[in-house]
Assembly symmetry: D2
Homo-oligomer: 296 residues x 4
Amino acid sequence: MDIGFIGLGSMGLPMATNLLAAGHKLRVHNRTASKADPLVKKGAELMSTSASVAAAGGVVITMVADDAALESLVLGADSIAQRLAPGGIHISMSTIAPATARKLAEYHAESGSIYIAAPVFGRPEAAAAKRLWICTSGPHEAKHKVESILHAMGQKVFDFGDEVGAAHAVKVAGNFLIAAAMESIGEALAMLEKSGVDRGAAIDMLSSTLFACPVYQGYGKAIAQMQHTPVGFRLPLGLKDVDLALKTGAELRVPMPIASILHDRFLESIARGRTEMDWSGMALAARDDAGLPPRK
Amino acid sequence: MDIGFIGLGSMGLPMATNLLAAGHKLRVHNRTASKADPLVKKGAELMSTSASVAAAGGVVITMVADDAALESLVLGADSIAQRLAPGGIHISMSTIAPATARKLAEYHAESGSIYIAAPVFGRPEAAAAKRLWICTSGPHEAKHKVESILHAMGQKVFDFGDEVGAAHAVKVAGNFLIAAAMESIGEALAMLEKSGVDRGAAIDMLSSTLFACPVYQGYGKAIAQMQHTPVGFRLPLGLKDVDLALKTGAELRVPMPIASILHDRFLESIARGRTEMDWSGMALAARDDAGLPPRK
Amino acid sequence: MDIGFIGLGSMGLPMATNLLAAGHKLRVHNRTASKADPLVKKGAELMSTSASVAAAGGVVITMVADDAALESLVLGADSIAQRLAPGGIHISMSTIAPATARKLAEYHAESGSIYIAAPVFGRPEAAAAKRLWICTSGPHEAKHKVESILHAMGQKVFDFGDEVGAAHAVKVAGNFLIAAAMESIGEALAMLEKSGVDRGAAIDMLSSTLFACPVYQGYGKAIAQMQHTPVGFRLPLGLKDVDLALKTGAELRVPMPIASILHDRFLESIARGRTEMDWSGMALAARDDAGLPPRK
Amino acid sequence: MDIGFIGLGSMGLPMATNLLAAGHKLRVHNRTASKADPLVKKGAELMSTSASVAAAGGVVITMVADDAALESLVLGADSIAQRLAPGGIHISMSTIAPATARKLAEYHAESGSIYIAAPVFGRPEAAAAKRLWICTSGPHEAKHKVESILHAMGQKVFDFGDEVGAAHAVKVAGNFLIAAAMESIGEALAMLEKSGVDRGAAIDMLSSTLFACPVYQGYGKAIAQMQHTPVGFRLPLGLKDVDLALKTGAELRVPMPIASILHDRFLESIARGRTEMDWSGMALAARDDAGLPPRK
C-alpha cells in the first residue's frame, strides 16, 4: 500500500522501517530531514512538507511529539486532513489527549477524511522488533482497512470501539500506570536501601514473583541500579504524559492524587537538571528526599 | 521434625496443613481453638497455651495478626523464646515491622534461642497450593536447618542475608507496592470509566501486556469488576501494612508520599464502612471521589 | 477622568460604582447588558461592544472571568489594545496567569498602548466598601498616572515593580494561600468534630489568637458552620485559580504539593455537585472522606 | 499556693518564673537539674525526683517533651498521680495525644487524683511575657480551682468542656494549622521567587492584609528571609506534633492529606540535616524541590 508517514523519532523510525520491510511504499516527512536517510536508502520517498505525504483516499500515519505538533499537521489550509479527502485515513499513533483526538476527528470528518486512533505501547527496541502493542479506536470500517498496516508494526492490536478518544485514554492511563509503578518502586527501594537491604536483590525477588512483568522487570532494574541512560523515553516527556492524565482527569472531574505526585516528581527532576535522563530517572527523587547521596 | 505452630488464620491453617502433609509432627495453638479441628483430625496435637507448643531446642512457627500479637508470644516469662532455649528456632512468618523483629531477635538471643524472619507473599489459595514465596533473613545456620520446613510451605525461598529485619522490610515494601498498584489502577479506571472506556477491556489489555503479572491480573480484575468479596485479605489489614511502611520510612527518614495516599484511602474506606471487603476494595475510593455512583 | 470599564460581575459592578461616585465618567460594557442598569442610572454610558469603551490615549479597566475572556478583549483586530493607542492604558484587574499578562503586555506594546497589572484581593462586600487591596506591576509612569483611579476602588495599593506578571503572580499565590488555609481548616475541624470538640468553639479560639486575620475568621466561621451560601466566589472558580498556581508552578518547575491536593478537592467537590456553593464549600470534602454525614 | 512544676525547658522555665512572680511557692524538678538555677535563686525548691514535687491534695504542673515523658511521670508506683491523692490536681500543659490524656486521666481517677488538660499556644517569648493562650478541658471544679494559676501564665484561657482529651485535640489541630500555613507559604514563595517577585515584599503584603495575624507575620517573615535561627521550637518536634495529628486522625478514621505532606516535609528536612533549625525551616524543602540554590 502507499502510505504517508510523518515523525521519524526514536519510535517512528523503526516503525516506518518495518512498514518498508513489509513491502509498503512510503512517502515520509520529518522536521529534521536527515533522520529520513536510512529510510530513503531503503526506498522511501522524502517529502519536503508534511501535507505532501498525503494523497486523496490514501493513508497517513503520524507519530509526533505532542498534541500541538499533531494539531499543526491536521488543522488549517493544506493540511493532511484536507489532502486525504475524499475518504483517506489518518492513523494517529502519538500519545495525545483524548479531547484533542475528538477535535481532530471532527475536523477530519468535516474535511471528508477519517481519523483513527492507534497509540502504541513499547519502547524503541520493541518498535524495532515489531513487538509494539497497539490500541485502536474510531470508525470500524477504517480500522478494518488498515489492519495489515498495524500488524506490520506491532505484535497485537487491542480495539476499544468506535469512540475515537478511547484508545488515547487507554494509552494515557497506561503511561500513568507505568510512572506510578516507577515512583512506587523508587519509594520502596529508598526505604529498603536505608534498611540495609540490597536494592537489586529486592527488585529481583519482587519482579520474578508478584510483579513478574515487563514494567517492573525493566524499569525496576534500571531504578535499582540507578541507571537512567541510554534514554528510551526522555524524562520531560514523562511530565507531558502525566499531565495528559491530569488534564483528562480534570476535564472529567476525576481526582487522581497519584498523578499529582508524579507531576511533582517530574517537575522536581527537571528542576534538578535531569532532563537528559530516561524517564525512569524520576525515581531518583525519592532517594534525594531521603537524604541519600547521589550514586557514585 | 517436631514443630510448634501458632496462628491458624486463613494463611496459617493451610500452611500448617502442608507441614502435616509433608510428614512433620505438629503441636498447634490458636486463640480460637476450634480453628485447629481439621489439623487435629490429621494428627496435630492441640495445646492450650501458646508457650506449650515450644520445646527446648525445637522449632516454632508463628503466623499471627500483628506486631503486638507476636510480641505477646515472645516476650515475658514463660514465652516461646524461653521455652525454645537452648538453641531452638523461632520461624517468624507474620508481616511485622523490621524494628519489632530486631527487638524480638535480641530478646531471643538473650534467652538462648534464635529468631529468623520468614514472611510470605501469597494469598490463602497460594498457601493451600504450597505456592507461597518466602523471604528469609537472620542467622545463616538456623535458616539452613529449617530449609526443608520452609520448602514444605512455599514454592521458592528468597534470602536477604543475616540482618533479621531485612526480610520483613522486603515484605513491607512488597505489600506497599501491591497497594500502590491497586490505588493506581483505581484512579486509572475511574478516569477511563468517565471517558466511556470499558473497565474490563482496559485492564485485560494492560494486564496481558506491560503488566502481565499476578498483582495486576488478580487485583486488576477485581477492581475493574468492583468485586471485593470473597475476602483474601481484610481491608483494615491493608491499613496496618501500609502503616508499617510509613512507620519504617519515618524511622529511617524516608518520605513515602504514595504510602501516605494509601493510608488516607484505607482510612476513607474504613470510615465509609468497607471493613468487611477484601483490601482491593480500597480502590473504590477513587470512584467515590469522581462522583461515580456505587456499583449496582 | 474618562474610563472604559469591562466586566460587571459581582466584583466589577461595585468597583465601577465607586469610580462613578468618585466623579469619573464611565463607558461600560458587559456580556449581559442588563447588569449595567444600576450604573447607567447613575450616569454611565453603556456600550454595545467591548472595544468601544476604549478611546485613544484613554484608560480601560477590565474585570473579567478568566484568561480566555481577557485575551478575547485584547488580541485581534479592533481590540481594546488597538483602540487605546497611542498611549492609552489598560488596567487589568482580573485574576489571570502571569504568562498571559506578559503575552498581553507585549501585544499592547506592539499596538502602542500600555498594559498594567492591578489584580485585587477582597470579596464583593469589600469591593462595595472601597476596601479592596490592589497589587500592581508594570511600567512605572503608567501606574503613576492611574493612581487616583485605583485609590477610588481600594483601601491600599501594593506595588511589585516593573515586571508585568509580578502582581498577577502575587494574586495567584494569595488565592492559593486562601484555599490552602480552607482545606487545612476543613481537615482540622473534621478531626476535632470526630474528637467530640465543637467546631465553632475551636475556630473561635484559633481565629482570635494565632490566626486572628480575615481569612481564618471569615472562611473559618463558614467552614465551622458548613454555611457555604450566599456565594462570594463560586466554587468552580476556585479550581480555576488553584490551576493558575499549578500552571505557573509547572512552567517554572516548582512542585506545589498542597496545590495539587486543592486541585483534587475542587474536582471532588464539583463531581459531588457542589458547583453552586461558595468556594469555601471545598472544605466539606474532608468531612466526606471521614465518613461524617452531611450537615442536616 | 504551693505548686509542683516538672519540665523546665524553653517553655517551662519562663512559665514557672511567672508563677513565682505571682507569689506562688514552687517545688521544681527537671531532668537536667542546673536548668532550675534561676528559679532556685528566686526561691523555688529544687527536688531530686519528679514525684517529690507532688503533695497530697496539691497541684502539679507538667510541661514535658512528649507523651512518653509524661506517661513516665504519671504511671507506675510512686508517681505524681499517687502522690497527689487524695484530691490533688495535675495540670498537664504539654502537647500530647488526646488518647494519652484520656489514659492518664483514668489512671489519675483510679489513684484518687485529678487530671486536667491545659496545653498552651505561644513561643518562649510569649511565655516570658505571660501572653500564652491556654486551652483547658477536664472536670469543671478542678479547672475552677486552678484558674488563678493559669492566669498567672497566660493572657487568656479557652475552655473546651469536660472531656479531658478536647483541649489536647485543639492544641494538636492548632499546631497542624501552623505547619500547614508554613508549608503553604513555602510553596507560594518558591513559586514567586522563580517568578522574579521579591519574597519579602510578597509576604509583607499578604501578612498585612488577608493574613494579618501572628502565624503569617512571624513565620512568614522567617520563611521569606530563610532565617530559621534562633530556634523557638526545634524542627524535629514539628514532626512529633504533625504525627500527633496524623495519629489522632487515624484513630478516628479522618484522612488528613495535608498532614501527610507535612509529615514528609519534616522527614525530608531531618534527612537533609536540618535538625537544629526552628521548625519553620521545613519550608526550605519547597525551595529545594524547585531546584533553587540554598540561601547564601
